[in-house]
Symmetry: C2
Subunit: 343 residues, 2 copies
DNA sequence: AATAAAAATTTACGCGCGATAACTTTTACT
DNA sequence: AGTAAAAGTTATCGCGCGTAAATTTTTATT
């Protein structure tokens, strides 16, 4: 990088010996100028310290290079990881991602979308809160900005949805537990924040019926996004009552399972597949911490990479093809069973 | 909110019956206009749908309302939580925070600062990676932008530092373990990413010496930010060798401890203060997940609230007082001991 | 070498707002 | 009521760049 500070594009164009409009074209899309001019501009970039003014750039541009990434709850490492993955892909493609978290708050979620509008984003990758989301407002937003939903679907909203196949998750965990032990009870929140939870419950019931067993759903109380604590308290109640038909529990998601295992430990209930274990616990998500629970959690893993890759690719296709595809694609990726000690 | 879209401030000013420069003043600082005009503008805001164009706003402003928040590793819920706290405080004060994560990568850290410069931020709240950070580049950045460092200090860099008092953490955990059992060995990474780790080790040695015991530091190998895995592997080695003088372990931080406890469980080493326990494990940080380890982790808690409050306040003081205070304040907040089952 | 197509240049305008200066109106206070 | 200070108004400029049209130069094709 250079040492001489260059004030504006006019000056930089003069220094590089190229006209300003061409330099402008270069910054908008380096591939749109001839290789020889590109080389001259890049040589000048090495020599002088110049970056176009972002604010002036975006003011009159019809399509900015800004991408909004919105996740429901960033303190959940699952979303932090997927956000990171998506963020990197955007940067690699020459876009400028900005990360937002709704922090579990539906009003904040709408405020974020409002603020995003004024950034004139080329597109938005959006994992909604789910049940609590203000769908009318979100729909309004999606009419103005090309949006790809991920992780959590809202029917008909956004240009596309990319997520994981909940049936694939639950069918594998149920099948595994049944085959290697007993058919599990299903442990979940009574009023889940996320629509995936409902699909998982339905998949559980479907699978159990298909395999010829009676489904048994345990629903615990609790609101908000403190899933571990909800799981822990719920587990204490469940373990006290002891009215589950088998010694197998399938948690709707890993964060509930983390709480569940913590309660088991507190009560001295040994979990795992050893002979002296009284309970087997499995779950879904392959949360970054699920490897470190006690015992380590058997779970079904999201295909992080493919979900984020396909989300980003879908959005870029939308952006580059002038948007509005007509049909709303819903892409689901299958899960991968991760066997650990808990079941 | 209104329904009629208003194109620009000119138009909005006409609709509200106020001159454009006054409306401009209002958006810059609502308190700077008379209460009666403020009411008229706000009435018009209710009636019409108008928001100033961010890009045009920031283009010519000497001081924007942008605040950069940079954390080293967002997939660590500790940083996610503190970032959220800081973010909210910025918004409440009328600023526009943008969140960035260095993802443990020193080059990315510098890229983020570079990108931040072009956002002309009024100020930056910055938790550096630490040892791996490119200090020369960071120092250069801090010369251009008022920056408050938090969590992790870099000597002399930035206008102020706000963090936790590592001696307060370690002295309490060491004192507690010693008083209620035996003096602990200290478990840490050989080449810690973070300068706090060095301060904690020093504090441990100081405390042990003061109490009349021989310090015993266990250093495990491992690079990067996968602390849990490093802790787990390190613990397996340590537990195999069994050459620790007492049955008490103090981990440098909670994420290492999470891995340590996971290894203990895997080996059937019972941790806690019950009679049948062979090991006590404590740690420092009060990580959001430390409540759910098995057993729940005894640790020393950061004062999240005060650290983030004071960081933000320091920065705003810098910004509003025209910056450059002359002396670089370092503020450390004490820890609070959290007793749980592990020690 | 002739011709068409592609790329770069020149020129000019405008985006939406911040900032300033000179002037007028409203408020606060003796 | 009189006066100074505070706040609002009108007018105008400029920020740094995108964009478009008309023109010229370069490259590719036969």
């Amino acid at each position: 990088m250079g040492d001489v500070k260059v004030k504006n594009m006019e000056e930089f164009a003069a220094l590089s010996g190229i006209s300003r409009p061409t330099v402008s074209k270069y910054f908008n899309d380096p591939g749109s100028v001839r290789a020889s001019t590109r080389a001259r501009i890049e040589a000048a970039l090495e020599k002088y310290d110049y970056r176009p003014n972002i604010f002036a750039m975006n003011q009159n541009r019809k399509l900015t290079k800004n991408i909004g990434i919105v996740v429901p709850y960033l303190a959940d490492p699952f979303f932090a990881e997927i956000a990171r993955n998506i963020e990197q892909r955007c940067i690699d493609s020459g876009y400028r991602p900005t990360l937002f978290s709704s922090h579990g708050n539906p009003e904040l979620e709408i405020e974020i979308l409002d603020a995003l509008q004024s950034l004139k984003p080329a597109g938005v990758l959006f994992a909604p809160l789910g049940r609590a989301s203000n769908k009318a407002e979100i729909e309004k937003f999606c009419k103005n900005v090309p949006t790809v939903l991920f992780d959590s679907n809202l029917d008909g909203i956004g240009e596309a949805f990319v997520g994981s196949d909940n049936f694939s998750f639950v069918s594998q965990t149920v099948e595994y537990m049944t085959r290697t032990g007993a058919p599990p009870s299903f442990f979940e929140m009574r009023t889940p924040a996320n629509p995936n939870a409902n699909k998982r419950r339905a998949a559980y019931i479907e699978m159990m019926t298909r395999l010829g067993f009676e489904p048994h759903v345990i629903q615990v109380d609790g609101e908000g996004w403190a899933f571990e604590e909800i799981g822990r308290r719920g587990a204490h109640k469940v373990l006290e009552d002891k009215n589950h038909p088998t010694d197998a529990i399938l948690c709707s998601n890993d964060r509930l399972a983390i709480g569940f295992l913590s309660a088991c430990y507190e009560r001295g209930v040994k979990v795992g597949r050893d002979a002296d274990c009284v309970l087997r616990v499995a779950s879904n998500d392959d949360h970054p911490f699920s490897k470190f629970t006690c015992p380590a959690l058997t779970t079904a893993a999201h295909d992080y990479d493919r979900v984020s890759e396909h989300s980003v690719d879908s959005l870029f296709e939308l952006i580059e093809n002038g948007k509005r595809p007509g049909t709303r694609a819903e892409t689901l990726f299958p899960a991968r069973l991760i066997l650990r000690a808990s079941a």
